[in-house]
Amino acid sequence: MTYLLRASPLHAARASVAAAYCASLVTAAFLSPHPLVLGVLALLILCAGLMCGVGSRVARSLWFSLPMGVAIVLVNALVAREGLTVLVRLGDGGPLGQLDITLESLAFGAKEALVLIVIVAVAALASAVIDPDEVLRSLRRVSFRSALTATIATRMMPLLALDARRIGDAQRCRPRPAGRLAVMRAITANALDRSLDVAATLEVRGYGSARRPARAVRARSRHDLAFAVSAVAIVVLAAAWPAPFAYYPTIAGSFDASAFAHAGALGLAALAPFAQRRGISR
């Protein structure tokens, strides 16, 4: 989950705007109960990822979140009591009481799963398009040490992953492979060594006497403006023009023209900024 620098409109926007855009997509997922809208949001995030050149990262996150989604559907079906349309009666479930699988609990579980999928996909998109250095530079003006700790954690993650892979490779070269516990200990010891090395680097770069950094002045680009407008539009659409959908006690909602129009408007608001391709390379 590292930043991937690409030539795309969203990468060209400043980090705070890109973060706001991603946050607006999550907000829309929380505000919209309609499964059509949630499905469209997941699709929009995938499209945004593709247009940012990080489509495979987003697609992979969608794929990995599917099992979690299925688990949510199953658990909700087993524990929810509100639905009236019983599909299967499983009888007495001991401490869980009477286990009835209802259509409503399955549908609500699917909706919750969709929200989760959207959140995971947005996280994947955000990690790939938001420049962490820029975010942390902004945060350092507020809390320097916390921001720097976050910076180091960001840097250490890929480094330690690389080290773990390297140590794993070395262990595969041993004629008699060492036990898992011993390898884990070696990886942990290596992580501590790495941390010391990075800490030493921080010291010699003057971190110990660091002062609050100066505010960086940067002109607003067309992409800053476009994605800021898009983020506001997404939140307003989701909050002010919700597509109604109720799950309990019985499902009440429809896939009518209004729901499609709402989903379409969201799609337009979310993808329109990508049409502007000028000045996207850094």
Binding site: D133, D169, R176, A186, A200, V204, G208, A210, P213, R282
Partner: protein, 544 residues
């Protein structure tokens, strides 16, 4: 004002029985280019730690005596305070880069000092232009190669134009081209910016020509403090392990002064009438002719005629959506052959070894081996999983590797040479013995004696029937053990010849002796040159 001033400094790391620095007194004036020499554990890195303030403020331990760095008392100024005047570059570039993009990395030290946004922006641009890394500014640091990372780390050390630049084996992970570029850059910084350079390096033949002064340390004390020629004459008498090949050649011929570089060695030879004229040997007509004589090439041809132990057949390694790391590489290695793989960083050497070792699957082609492959990757520490050397191997293997004496030691406390020997013993332990032995950059951080011991060990294993394949950037080490040399570029084998053909006559992939002698007769080492002279042939004049 002196850049560094130590007065009777004695320093011990926490829990160490012996001091790392012992009653050390020295002064380094501003604008000097000083090379620190010495074997493993001589105290070079500790002295650099003092110069950067990490010793004792970061490492702890006991510090006696007084030290001033750029006029600041070390007792009251830690590394952060010194950072405004001292830039530091360590060996491993991966741990020296802490930010996500190159621009942020270069800006980081300037921001820490509270510079205004304009000064930060200007400083970043200037240092990027000075180091020629302006094209990298918007790149993410995780995407950079080792050489690029090292340049960026140097940029971060130089941002704000420090008065003293402290470098701990900065070229150990670089190919000869990138290493020479880095040293040329240091010389330029020293000459044009007046930056004081304090550089610890094992491959002295690379950097002595640029140095004003060499300080040799031994067990934490100054053993020699002289100009490059004076140091080399001292090394010839007292510490042959520190003598450069060029100096060994000149001293072996009974000539003086000891040469700090190729140019001076040639001048000395010419003055003695051993080089025919002022023309550089490689510029003379016929200098490109293949070597006429080489014991190495004869041995290589003899071995190659045997049934190959290792067959790499048209192996490709193509990244999904990316470039080909290996592009149809074919190579056969016979039992007893010792092959060195040379090439720039990213040429495909490590990937080829990983394919041979079975850590990677070719996307096309195949690797065939008539026995077990033992692969020693770049970092020997990755093989150690126990707290005692004795637990890493059984008693017999430990005895065979000559490591019984350090059986109780923690592997991390061993010297570079001992760690390499232990890791090699781990991968080669067990039955049946490895038919193919592959080593990836085994000499990083090793002093000359440890390299010689490793070369001897490889020769011994090949004589027992193993096919040996080693990837290295160190031409001197290659010359010491190889019977065959393979040059890779962009995933392809571009040359496959005897070491005397490949390692002589070039600029980068050549030993110092070969560069001095212009590559004639395929002579690679001082010992070979002297042996040839002793055999009655006038080595130098016979080439005209």
């Amino acid at each position: 004002m002196n850049a560094l001033e130590l007065d009777s400094v004695t320093y011990s790391y926490p829990a160490a029985r012996e001091p790392a620095l012992s009653d050390l007194t020295l002064e380094i004036a501003e604008g000097e280019f000083v090379v620190l020499a010495g074997g493993s554990a001589a105290g070079k890195s500790t002295l650099l730690g003092v110069a950067s303030g990490l010793v004792p403020h970061f490492h702890g331990g006991r510090f006696d005596g007084s030290a001033e760095v750029c006029g600041m008392d070390l007792r009251s100024h830690g590394p952060a305070a010194l950072a405004s005047d001292v830039g530091t570059l360590f060996q491993d570039p991966e741990t020296q880069v802490v930010m996500g993009t190159v621009r942020a990395e270069l800006a980081f030290p300037l921001e820490n000092r509270g510079h205004a946004a304009v000064a930060v922006a200007r400083g970043v641009e200037e240092v990027a232009l000075a180091l020629g890394i302006e094209s990298l500014l918007e790149r993410t640091t995780v995407d950079l190669s080792g050489g690029e990372l090292q340049r960026v780390a140097l940029g971060a050390a130089l941002a704000g134009r420090p008065r003293l630049l402290v470098l701990d084996e900065p070229t150990s992970q670089l190919d000869p081209v990138a290493g020479d570029e880095l040293l040329a850059l240091l010389r330029r910084l020293n000459e044009e910016w007046g930056t004081t350079i304090l550089l610890a390096e094992h491959r002295l033949e690379r950097c002595l020509a640029a140095a004003d002064r060499v300080i040799a340390l031994d067990r934490g004390a100054v053993a020699c403090d002289a100009g490059p020629s004076g140091f080399l004459e001292w090394a010839h008498r007292h510490e042959p392990g520190l003598e450069t090949p060029g100096a060994a050649l000149i001293a072996g011929l009974g000539l003086r002064p000891a040469p700090a570089g190729v140019k001076q060695a040639r001048a000395t030879l010419r003055a003695a009438g051993l080089l025919p004229d002022a023309e550089a040997p490689h510029e003379r007509p016929g200098a490109d002719r293949p070597a006429r004589r080489s014991w190495r090439s004869r041995r290589a041809q003899g071995s190659a005629a045997a049934e190959p132990t290792l067959q790499v057949r048209r192996v490709w390694h193509e990244l999904a959506g990316g470039r080909s790391i290996l592009a149809g590489v074919s190579i056969a290695v016979a039992a007893g052959e010792r092959v060195v793989l040379l090439g720039r960083n990213g040429a495909g050497k490590s990937t080829l070894l990983r394919h041979i070792g079975g850590l990677m699957e070719p996307t096309r082609g195949r690797v065939e081996c008539s026995g077990r492959v033992a692969l020693l990757l770049q970092n020997p520490g990755d093989y150690f999983v126990h707290d005692r050397v004795g637990d890493e191997l059984d008693a017999a293997a430990l005895r065979d590797a000559g490591l019984e004496a350090i059986a109780e030691r923690h592997p991390r406390d061993c010297s570079g040479g001992e760690r390499q020997r232990l890791a090699l013993a781990i991968v080669t332990a067990g039955d049946p013995p490895a038919a193919v032995l592959c080593l990836d950059e085994p000499t990083r951080g090793m002093d000359r004696l440890a390299k010689k011991a490793l070369a001897d060990q490889l020769v011994e294993r090949s004589e027992l029937g193993a096919a040996v394949v080693v990837a290295t950037h160190d031409p001197e080490f290659a010359a010491a053990f190889a019977t065959r040399a393979v040059l890779l570029a962009d995933g392809r084998i571009v040359a496959d010849a005897s070491p005397s053909e490949l390692l002589s006559g070039g600029w980068y992939f050549a030993t110092e002796t070969a560069r001095i002698l212009g590559g004639h007769d395929g002579i690679l080492t001082a010992a070979e040159a002297l042996e040839s002279l002793a055999a009655g042939a006038d080595v130098l004049e016979s080439r005209t």
